[in-house]
């Protein structure tokens, strides 16, 4: 068990900068997910943490010890690889006992300890099996057991679940969580899957372009994204381009792709008339109702002059996505989507006229990729 500190970590491959001055702290016993798209440098960061890559610049601390130049076999970290990397010429037991063997633990003891760890991952019956005969999920468990057997200070997981099918992956996420609670080791888990990060993590670090964009608890990161990148990456949302027209109390009026002007709160953010904005309308924050036949809608569009929190549109597409249905609504030049659970009473059909409304306080507003008035609402 140990905390981890990465200070100004940089890795360059020739002209390519994979990791660019990254700073990150991981608390002792925490399960941190490094989340980001392919090529954002998250795996490289993990490999520098494990000693499999040497940083071009910056430092790695495990606990209070600077380990930047220590080779992997001198570090108390252990990596679970995406390919699992089990030793093909060794039995499951020999694989798991390997690290202890390298530490000079005698055979009887290391086999006993390896059996104990295999029990934790529920692989006791495969002790003598050849790794090549195991299924993906079983290999994954063995790889995890092999890394846990040496009781590392920090366990590094490099997308170990990405080669599993969906059901197994979700099951393993829960088990990984339980194992983390059981062993109380610091885990650093790399993934590109937001759902996996939200399921597993005590804390999520979202990476983009070789640096960390935002670190925080899953809820906090989701509710309060610092940038457009984080907002886009964490989930499906409706992004609408807009342009500032004029200032009002606590916000601005912006012209949008809806062909309507709307009121946008921008607490603490400084924007000038004419500045471009990107507004995120999260589908779960949208309230949608059918335009009544007699036109007697309570939330009548354009009722407050040119500034509104409700707009009328037309349903253009209905996508059935298993347990939920996604509806696309054309409003002006753009379209927004929202979702309903199958079985909800209000069903909309293509060509229905609907009213989409929202609470302005729920909008997330971005200017030049940065969130406006973050923490203000």
């Amino acid at each position: 068990m140990a905390s981890v500190t990465l200070a100004d970590l940089t890795k360059e491959y020739g002209d390519l900068t994979a990791v660019d001055g990254l700073d990150l702290d991981v608390d002792d016993g925490e399960l941190l997910c490094l989340l980001g798209p392919s090529g954002c440098g998250k795996s490289t960061t993990l490999r520098m943490l494990g000693g499999l890559e040497t940083p071009t610049d910056g430092d790695v601390y495990i606990g209070d010890e600077r380990v930047t130049d220590e080779p992997p076999y001198e570090r108390d970290t252990s990596m679970v690889f995406q390919s699992w990397a089990l030793f093909p010429h060794k039995s499951v037991l020999e694989n798991v006992a390997f690290g202890l063997k390298m530490d000079g633990v005698d055979e009887a003891e290391r086999n006993e300890r390896a059996r104990d760890v295999l029990e934790v991952v529920e692989m006791s019956e495969f002790v003598d099996a050849d790794p090549e005969d195991l299924s993906g999920g079983q290999k994954q468990r063995v790889a995890l057991a092999r890394s846990l057997a040496i009781e590392p200070d920090v366990l590094l997981l490099d997308e170990p679940l990405s080669n599993l099918d969906k059901r197994l992956r979700e099951q393993m996420q829960l088990e990984l969580r339980n194992i983390h609670d059981e062993v109380e080791t610091t885990f650093v888990h790399v993934t590109h899957d937001q759902n996996e990060a939200f399921t597993l993590a005590d804390s999520i670090a979202i990476m983009n372009d070789g640096d960390v964009e935002q670190v925080g608890e899953p809820r906090e990161v989701y509710d309060d994204p610092v940038s457009l990148f984080v907002e886009e990456f964490l989930g499906d949302t409706n992004l609408v381009d807009a342009r500032v027209q004029s200032h009002i109390d606590g916000g601005v009026v912006a012209a949008t792709e809806f062909d309507e002007e709307i009121e946008v709160p921008t607490p603490g953010g400084h924007v000038e008339a004419g500045d471009p904005l990107t507004i995120s309308f999260r589908p779960e924050e949208l309230d949608v109702s059918r335009v009544a036949a007699d036109g007697g809608q309570s939330a009548d569009p354009a009722e407050a002059g040119d500034v509104t929190t409700a707009l009328e549109g037309t349903v253009t597409d209905v996508l059935y996505r298993g347990s939920s249905v996604r509806f696309y609504v054309q409003i002006g030049e753009t379209s927004v989507f929202f979702e309903q659970s199958v079985g909800d009473k209000t069903d909309f059909e293509v060509d229905d006229s609907v009213v989409v409304s929202w609470d302005p306080e729920d909008l997330l507003v971005f200017s030049e990729g940065e969130r406006l008035g973050r923490g203000g609402t």
């Binding site: 494990g50 970290t77 990397a85 030793f87 390298m102 092999r146 040496i150």
Partner: protein, 302 residues
Amino acid sequence: MGALADESMFAWFGKRIKSKDSTSVFLLAPLAAFELVFFVVPFLILVRMSLNSQPETGFYETGWTLAAYGDILGSNLYQQMILFSFKLGVIATVVAVVLALFYAYAAYRAEGLTKSILLFSIILPLLTTLVVKTYAWRPLLAPNGVLNDFLLSLELIGSRIQFAPSLFGTVVGQVYIVFPYAVLAIYSVLSTLDWDVVEAARDLGASRPRSFFEVVLPEVLPGVAVATVVSFAWSVGAYAAPSQLGTGSQTTFAMEIGNLMLTNFNWPVGAAFAILMLAAMLAASLAVIRLLTGSIGGVQDV
């Protein structure tokens, strides 16, 4: 009509090829015919020849006798030659396979241009004929050759050394011949090695040498077995290297068989010698494979 007949003939042939049970027969037929004409038949002729009597004049006298075999096994000179052949085989194989293992590993780890250069320089010598490249070692290793001049100019040696013709020169020449094949055999297996596995070993506390012996070596053992068999079989039967880079005491049985066949015109003894050595090398090769892979068929697992 003719076109129709042709078509049906092709169709018949096509059906035969497509039907599962006979596919392999048709595919193997050309190879089998080649083997029969150029290997099985000559080998049977060789066996028959070894059973003939030795002549006073001419090549052989027709007969049925094991006298040729007896002469070889009873001859002190021939025993020395066989012993030397196997000694050369073992030395050249050990040197070639150990060097090839390092070379293949370096090529496996190298990237981009370095990798291409390392692999290309292994293929390059294969484009030259064996005699030419063996002969090329003579001006390099001779007492008044390049290597001596170089070492003298550096004052590393006091007087000229005869690197060739000698046992040293013979081994160098023979290693040079088999080295590319050993590298390719090992590299082909090594290239399937998942580097993550080596990183996993280091991550779990294995030092660099330890991870090589614990993880890399077991993985490439089938390749090492093939490299060993190829190097050994070729080196025991060496002809070009000892004849061009060795002295009279570096005479292998292959050279002696050449003498018996082409100079002494004693075909029965030459044939018997060839068959005895073939059997010995077959046994030795199978033993090597067994030793390195644990089973005779193990190499097929590659």
